[in-house]
């Protein structure tokens, strides 16, 4: 659906809004697609900060991609995803840190943000409070994940894991 790549330049900041964290190739494509290394354009931050749909792809042991819908937010440097110990994507990320997140609103599918990245940290520290904060952002009110979103008893056998993803390649549509 997006346009073909037009031309490439290697001058880093050209065509990008906001500060450039990491200089890389900028691709300006007809059809309005653009790609910047490791840069989330301010115009598309809403597609990584609690987007309506965030599709996280991890890699299965077979090598096949595995995509699931997740909650995520963005701290300005890392994409943060919360999952549970033992879930398929958690196991996959521990084995292979290469992931890709596509944020979009299926009601407005011409606009999307693809972030290819590496999982640089998976930790239980702060994961429960991050999960509560995420749930509050998505639901628009103060909630506890265990008790308000899923049954409180789930906390006895589910352990939240906070995953930080460092973007290495960002593609933002701009139709």
């Amino acid at each position: 659906m997006s346009g073909a790549v037009g031309h490439c330049r290697r001058d880093g900041a050209a065509g990008c809004d906001g500060p450039v964290r990491q200089v890389g190739t900028v691709i300006l494509g007809r059809g309005g697609r653009r790609s910047c290394a490791a840069l989330v354009p301010p115009s598309h931050v809403d597609l990584v900060e609690c987007p309506r749909v965030a599709a996280l792809t991890t890699i299965m042991p077979s090598g096949h991609p595995h995509t699931s819908v997740v909650w995520c937010d963005f701290d300005g440097e890392f994409v943060r995803v919360n999952t549970m110990c033992g879930f398929q994507k958690e196991l996959n990320m521990r084995r292979d840190p290469r992931v890709t997140l596509l944020g979009y609103d299926p009601r407005e599918p011409l606009r999307y943000l693809e972030i290819r990245g590496l999982v640089v940290e998976m930790t239980r520290a702060g994961a429960a409070s991050h999960l509560d904060a995420l749930a509050a952002k998505y639901l628009g009110r103060s909630v506890r994940y265990f008790g308000d979103v899923v049954p409180a008893a789930s906390a006895e056998f589910e352990v939240p894991v906070l995953c930080r993803i460092r973007p290495i390649r960002v593609v933002a549509s701009a139709w």
């Binding site: 991890t58 077979s62 090598g63 699931s68 299926p106 693809e114 290819r116 899923v150």
Partner: protein, 146 residues
């Protein structure tokens, strides 16, 4: 809910509407270095397999030529807890790919055909259209919490 499906098994009727209505999907392929690459695609269903359409020049088409592993996620726009996820392998078909693309174009945009309406007519000469049939190894439904 998870269903292990052979290539010939159809998509569960409960979620077939996500393939037959004009709802965009997330197609994920693998870059040469193994990094997943995701993009939004138009989707339909041929009675046996979910199908998308791309070109051999695009990143997803180039990836599928060297590694047919893929996944497709289609989320209900009105209820994002409802979705269909297909994991499997691609079958690439050049024959009929333009007709398929035009059918998708009518479903998704109302235009009669792709080249000349969605993209410039002259673009057709510069790219090689393929229909991608998804042979499902595994189909997952609505599995938000897993």
């Amino acid at each position: 809910m998870t269903i292990v499906a052979s290539a010939s098994q159809p998509v569960p009727p409960s979620h077939l509407d996500l393939l037959t209505a004009p709802v965009v999907g997330v197609l994920t392929t693998l870059m040469p270095d193994g990094q997943p690459h995701s993009c939004l695609v138009w989707v339909d269903y041929d009675g046996e397999c979910a199908r998308v359409n791309t070109t051999l020049e695009r990143q997803s088409g180039r990836n599928l030529r060297s590694d047919g592993s893929l996944s497709l996620l289609v989320v209900d726009p009105e209820n994002t807890a409802r979705y269909l996820h297909i994991r499997g392998d691609a079958e690439l078909l050049r024959r009929g790919a333009i007709d398929h693309l035009d059918a998708l174009t009518r479903d998704y945009t109302g235009h009669p055909c792709f080249y000349g309406h969605v993209y410039p007519r002259e673009q057709r000469k510069r790219e090689t259209r393929v229909t991608v049939r998804l042979h499902a190894h595994r189909i997952t439904l609505d599995a938000i919490h897993s």
